[in-house]
Symmetry: C2
Subunit: 475 residues, 2 copies
């Protein structure tokens, strides 16, 4: 079927008002957030109903047309961008954006895939509940994408990833049938856990159209500290002490290197060093609680003072008010932006077991110092989960070309070391198109074979987001 | 291959010391815990190593021999019992019982499938950590079975089910290949979440030989109350208020009807009614915390007093010491035993959304009163998860035969009502052999079709625990 035929068939199938075909309309769907890829597409489908999604997939399955599900287009791995063939249609879920239900007594919400994450947070809030997923792009990313990539963010140490928030899913299978496990049950042991497969499958097994999600008590108290530590080992020790002392109320625990402060104070207006003297490493930690009155500040202060007396902490300051707290978080959250302003960067979204993270940082840093003279390390992240954004930035005065030429060798060395530490080369950003070869390199052959078997079982015609996560044909 | 041939081939394959073939040795493996089934088997394999499990499965796969994985034999659904054909061999994992690693800084443990649950709890404890899975059979059930059935228990409201505790798995696939995701990572988004499929698959997709599990801070403070409530609706309201007020520290929240107190005080030595006057409904709730000093008792007391003033609670008592607390729990935990002593029973392990649980109890109770004159309701359970053991006991003076004759109609009516409430007919006991037909009745056709497709993808020769969860041939 040529592009013209396809467009007219789809237009009949969905209605002309649910199909974009003009070049200017297609444009925003052709490039990924990081501008790594530029694809082509004959049409973007904008269904208003699950039934339309079902009709679309049944048609595409019958006619072997590739379908690329598209949410808020914030993938770091090109997961929502069509390829260059011009044969794949884009399926935007943005009109499926109803919050179907928020049930405070049941601690659950049922939301459609196109809902913006921040809107889901707000809907929970207006029912005096808390939805914990929180990440930089929450103002534009969509729940469907959060589900499909098993999104992480800053609250994982306390609440887990997106998969941990899911009670049930409504999924359109590649054959167009709708499979709904959209219940709001806490316990259900009736056969295989299919829903966990769709979460993190990046749209390669079917299209998630809605999800029932867990809600939690509203956060009513918090305590936030910015503390200097001698090294990452001390950060790991402090994390353990805080989990114990606070009754597992640690909701964020972020590691920040000195260069993170240097870059943000240099490039981001209003960011200041929270401490009077410079140190090599810092942690930003936050305790939260839904108790109407809680003692988080004295607990945090006590733990830090005890750590200070043993040299586990070198210096530190507690946020005295919300403005103060926001300043700490602004420093942490603008590191990526400061990196971008400062120059080219090489990024690795890795995870290792928390206990060996200090060793990993030491060995990986030594490799970088010895092998990438044009780069400097900007290694920070969610230490509470063992997740580091182990990034390199172009060093001041270095040639960008020479720096970028180090990319393949650097990626190989870092990811090999991650494997030696039993870690993951993609902690929270997924595979998309960017890391398909990495998955083939680092997954066990048995695991990769079973992933292909699962893909074959769910999507025998290979129409769902072809070439993402897995190569279209097994090697 | 006849039984004699099979035995001699297996003996060569595994070594005679890893194979049981004598009748008296086989006996304990032929009957399930509830004595619902009695099967036959030519041999029980008792491997000492993962490599032996691998050799065994490769052999059975090649020769189309069914394999029934066997843990502590505490299944409520006949999940670990061979069928009557005498063709299926039993694979006991009990010798694979090493605790490979406990890592307090990483908050993780790596344990083999044959470890007794209580031993894993103790191993965590000796590293000053807490493993939260807790259930009646914890002194004999094995981690492999807990994983394969996605076990629940009394701490689910706070910590989740067994699947929520899993960081990674080591699985022998039906073809004998070993697939290991035995890492201890909190974040890993590298392809499909295969491990969640094996958890709860009841040994029908492969054999779990080891798991890496999450650990939590040690419990250092607790507060426990036994309170009378006017009805289940009040229990659901109180649960919400307690989650809020305690900073989500509710670790157990159990509903108990008056008959639960009548039965246990009558049949179990030492059980006493905690309150001075009888009431219709009770809750047993417990708050726990790892804080060195916490204010749980005043929080619980305050919440109960506030509830009392609004009629949400009618009466109540806080445990003043550990002996007191144990007495509350003894009452709750001996309800099943008291039911057994009192006479025949019909059991339904169901789950509905927490918010509609009161309606469900009302409507299901009305049905029972109208249709089962020989029975009386003993409906109790984990209200914090929406999970009720909606049981009927033979009424005093009623004919057991007449009561048991009500079973099929009762099961159908209760499970139909559960479906009408968007609930689950098997909350924590799984499918095993007992509920295969129920799954066919209540699963959506699309869901069932995908489960068969998954089974086909993982176990094309159908050797893994044949006839459990899914019928061997799709209908």
């Amino acid at each position: 079927m040529d592009a013209k035929d396809l467009r007219s068939r789809l237009s009949v199938l969905l209605g002309a008002d649910c199909l974009l075909t003009e070049e200017a309309q297609l444009e925003p769907f052709l490039t990924d957030h990081r501008k790594l890829y530029r694809g082509r597409t004959p049409a973007v489908a904008l269904p208003r109903t699950v039934e339309q999604v079902s009709r679309l997939l049944a048609f595409c399955n019958e006619n072997r047309v590739g379908v690329v599900p598209h949410g808020g287009n914030t993938s770091y791995c090109g997961g929502a961008t069509p390829d260059e063939s011009g044969d794949q249609i884009v399926l935007s879920l943005r009109r499926l954006n109803r919050i179907r239900n928020v049930d405070p007594l049941n601690w659950s919400a049922v939301v459609e895939a196109g809902c913006i994450l921040a809107d889901v947070q707000r809907a929970a809030q207006s029912a005096d509940r808390f939805f914990p997923l929180s990440l930089g792009s929450e103002g534009s990313c969509q729940i469907g994408g959060n589900l499909s990539t098993n999104a992480g963010g800053t609250n994982v140490v306390r609440y887990g990833m997106m998969r941990d928030q899911v009670l049930g899913l409504e999924v359109v299978l590649p054959n167009g049938r709708v499979m709904s496990t959209l219940n709001t049950l806490r316990k259900d042991n009736t056969g295989y856990d299919l829903k966990s497969l769709f979460v993190g499958a990046e749209g390669t097994l079917g299209v998630i159209t809605a999800a029932s999600l867990k809600l939690y008590p509203t956060i009513r108290a918090s305590a936030t500290a910015f503390a200097a530590v001698p090294n990452p080992q001390a950060a790991v020790t402090l994390l353990s002490e805080l989990r114990d002392a606070s009754g597992d109320s640690v909701s964020s625990f972020e590691l920040i290197p000195r260069v993170g402060i240097d870059l943000t104070t240099k490039h981001i207006p209003g960011v200041q060093d929270p401490l009077d003297r410079p140190y090599e490493w810092y942690v930003l930690c936050e305790l939260t609680s839904s108790r109407y009155i809680d003692t988080l500040a004295p607990i945090l202060e006590g733990a830090l003072e005890s750590a200070l007396s043993r040299g586990v902490v070198l210096d530190g300051v507690l946020a005295q008010n919300e403005r103060h707290r926001e300043a700490f978080w602004k420093l942490r959250e603008t590191i990526p932006e400061a990196q971008r302003i400062d120059g080219a960067s090489l990024k690795h979204d890795i995870c290792v077991p928390i206990a060996v993270l200090p060793d990993f940082v030491e060995r990986a840093s030594a490799w970088v110092r010895a092998n990438v003279p044009e780069g400097r390390l900007v290694c920070y992240g969610h230490v509470g989960d063992g997740n580091l954004h182990f990034n390199l930035n172009q060093a001041p005065g270095a040639s960008q070309e020479a720096f970028m030429a180090r990319e393949p060798a650097t990626k190989r060395a870092i990811h090999d070391l991650v494997r030696d530490f039993c870690g993951s080369f993609s902690a929270e950003h997924g595979i998309g198109r960017l890391k398909v070869a990495e998955l083939e390199t680092y997954a066990q052959p048995e695991e990769l074979a079973m992933m292909h078997a699962v893909k074959q079982a769910f999507d025998p015609n290979g129409i769902m987001n072809p070439g993402k996560v897995l190569r279209s044909e097994p090697r």
